[in-house]
């Protein structure tokens, strides 16, 4: 069975005192819009970091800055010890990038798509065939190697897109919304691919706005909102800190919901709208007086990363 990459048996063990990715005070403006606004982000070696945030939070711009396809107006960015943008070419040689947008060469077959990138990633001539075969195996496309990308299903194309970014066995992989717009079955397949990467100790930065994806795959999550990281930690720690252990959902007519939200606010307890109900976060920490005034909740459930996401990035998305 194929492995995604060779790990660190290469004698070029990265210096674990440094981060694989280090972004300090990065700012990126597009005219009047500031897409990234003083971003600080450290990704230690061997970690799968989930970059969570709503659309427009600056996740994709951050990804583009890491390949120097977007140049930061301010701040310092280092990738695998290479200072960007000056040494970005070397950094790009060592990392694999899986873009959000499917940009496979539609006219080429799966194998040919991988061959082109084996060249671009400087896979030595003698290793090229093996590297392409391995990437095909990783994408589970060995049987479809000679099918044009255009004729592959959506899930197969996405697997090929991921395999293309792994053809040179990178030490760092950037995954930009790897499963956006895919069926649950297909997402499941891709998750096992990402999980395998993680198991092999490849440093991974994965942007997503699917909470479950981050919760399942990431060692740590960084929550982005309006161009900066607003919270960082393991999913469990983030939930414990920002949403507690338990959430009380109160149902009722709109007036009552507004009243509940206001009462909680006065008591200094966080709430969020959850469709036809108001959720009181960290319900186990609410004062007795509030509990009495709110009455018994309609539903009690465990706090989730989604609660954290909504509380920290705002109820409404621009």
């Amino acid at each position: 069975m194929a492995t995604l990459q060779a790990g660190s048996r290469d004698g070029l063990l990265p210096d674990h005192t440094l981060s694989a990715i280090s972004i300090r005070g990065a700012v990126k403006r597009y005219g009047a819009i500031t897409a990234v606004d003083g971003l600080d982000l450290e990704v230690p070696y061997g970690v799968c970091l989930g970059l969570l945030g709503p659309n427009g939070a600056g996740k994709s711009t951050t990804m583009r800055m890491l390949t120097a396809q977007s140049r930061a107006d301010e701040g310092e960015i280092t990738v695998l010890g290479n200072v960007l943008p000056k040494e970005s070419k070397k950094a790009r040689a060592l990392m694999g990038v899986v873009p959000q947008q499917d940009n496979l060469d539609e006219e080429l077959t799966a194998r040919q798509n991988l061959e082109v990138f084996a060249h671009l990633y400087r896979v030595p001539k003698g290793d090229r065939v093996a590297a392409v075969d391995r990437a095909l195996a990783v994408a589970q496309l060995t049987d479809r190697a000679d099918t044009k990308a255009d004729d592959l299903s959506g899930g197969m194309r996405r697997r090929l897109l991921i395999a293309r970014g792994l053809v040179h066995r990178p030490r760092l992989v950037l995954l930009d919304e790897p499963t956006v717009g895919l069926d649950p079955q297909v997402r499941q397949e891709l998750w096992s691919l990402v999980a395998a990467l993680r198991a092999e100790g490849v440093t991974t930065l994965m942007s997503t706005h699917y909470i479950e994806e981050a919760e399942r795959l990431a060692d740590e999550c960084a929550l982005m909102s309006r161009g900066r990281v607003v919270a960082r930690g393991t999913p469990a720690d983030l939930i414990a800190e920002h949403a507690g252990a338990r959430v009380d959902e109160h149902h009722g007519p709109p007036d009552r919901l507004a009243e509940i939200a206001e009462l909680a606010r006065q008591a200094g307890v966080a709430t969020r709208r959850t469709g036809p109900s108001v959720s009181v976060l960290a319900a186990e920490r609410q004062p007795e007086s509030l509990r009495d005034r709110l009455g018994p909740p309609s539903v009690q459930r465990a706090a989730s990363l989604e609660d954290v996401f909504v509380v920290l990035t705002g109820e409404s998305v621009e």
């Binding site: 990459q5 070029l12 140049r71 671009l120 096992s192």
Partner: protein, 275 residues
């Protein structure tokens, strides 16, 4: 799907590149060429058909149509005059059109270049790779009119072996021109301005179908700054065995044009692809 696991490690060399990465490398060129070769293997028949049939029609129409009226031009049989002139127009069309449409589509619709630039490839390497492929194609298929001409009686000569190289140099210049145009035009529809306003006059006023000396002085002067004119002169001097020192000037003009267009293409493609 069963995911690959770390339990079965591979022993091959690690990924990444050995040593330093230079400012210009051939790996991106090889990568782009491997893509183009794969596409070419699929489309070679239609490509070759178009490359051979078009000049044949030109030769039949102009060579025999006009030829019967004109007889000779510059002291050559008019048919031979046209056969050599059409080499330049073929080179122009293959390189300039290929670059304009090809790079525009890959950049805006297929987002191919976003993928390429996320790999260790810089814009100047990408531009060089795309242009050099089109130049090679123009160098090879630009000879088609000459081959058709030979079939119609163009005398063989050793200088003909130089024609692919002239085609390559000219094709490189016009491919870079096309890449630059694709980067400054807002849409494919605006290519009409360039095709009708720049390329059409360029290919007519280059000594392809009639000698530029017969034009009014201002047009004859304009022809001399037309890179295609220098291509036509080089092709005729090669085919008819008239090569001399003055041909270095023609090569020089084409090299200058290549350098200028390379700079413009890299500059504007960078502006489009890197924000």
């Amino acid at each position: 799907m069963t995911a690959p696991t770390a339990a079965d490690p591979v022993t091959a060399e690690p990924g990444g590149v050995a040593g330093d990465i230079g400012w210009f490398e051939w790996a991106p060129v090889r990568g782009v060429w491997s893509r183009e070769l794969a596409l070419y293997r699929r489309h070679w028949a239609s490509t070759s058909f178009a490359a051979l049939v078009e000049p044949t029609i030109y030769l039949l129409a102009f060579g025999f149509g006009f030829g019967s009226l004109i007889g000779t031009a510059y002291g050559y049989d008019y048919r031979d005059f046209v056969a050599t002139g059409v080499v330049a127009t073929s080179v122009l069309f293959i390189s300039a059109f290929g670059a304009m449409f090809g790079t525009f589509i890959r950049r805006t619709f297929q987002h191919t270049y976003d993928a390429v630039l996320a790999a260790p490839v810089d814009v100047h390497e990408l531009v060089t790779a795309e242009a050099s492929w089109l130049a090679a194609k123009a160098g090879v298929y630009g000879c088609a009119p000459m081959v058709v001409g030979i079939a119609f009686g163009l005398p063989l000569g050793p200088g003909m072996l130089l024609v692919p190289f002239v085609g390559f140099l000219t094709g490189l210049a016009f491919a870079l021109f096309g890449i630059w145009v694709s980067a400054i035009m807002p849409s494919i529809n605006s290519f009409d301005y360039i095709i009708s306003g720049v390329l059409a006059p360029m290919f007519l006023v280059a000594g392809t179908f009639f000698p530029v000396d017969q034009l009014p002085p201002w047009a004859a002067g304009a022809a001399r700054v037309n890179p295609l004119y220098h291509c036509v002169e080089l092709v005729r001097d090669s085919v008819f065995g008239n090569l001399g020192w003055h041909d270095f000037a023609h090569v020089g003009v084409l090299l200058l044009f290549v350098a200028l267009m390379w700079s413009l293409a890299v500059w504007k493609m960078s502006a489009r692809l890197i924000d």
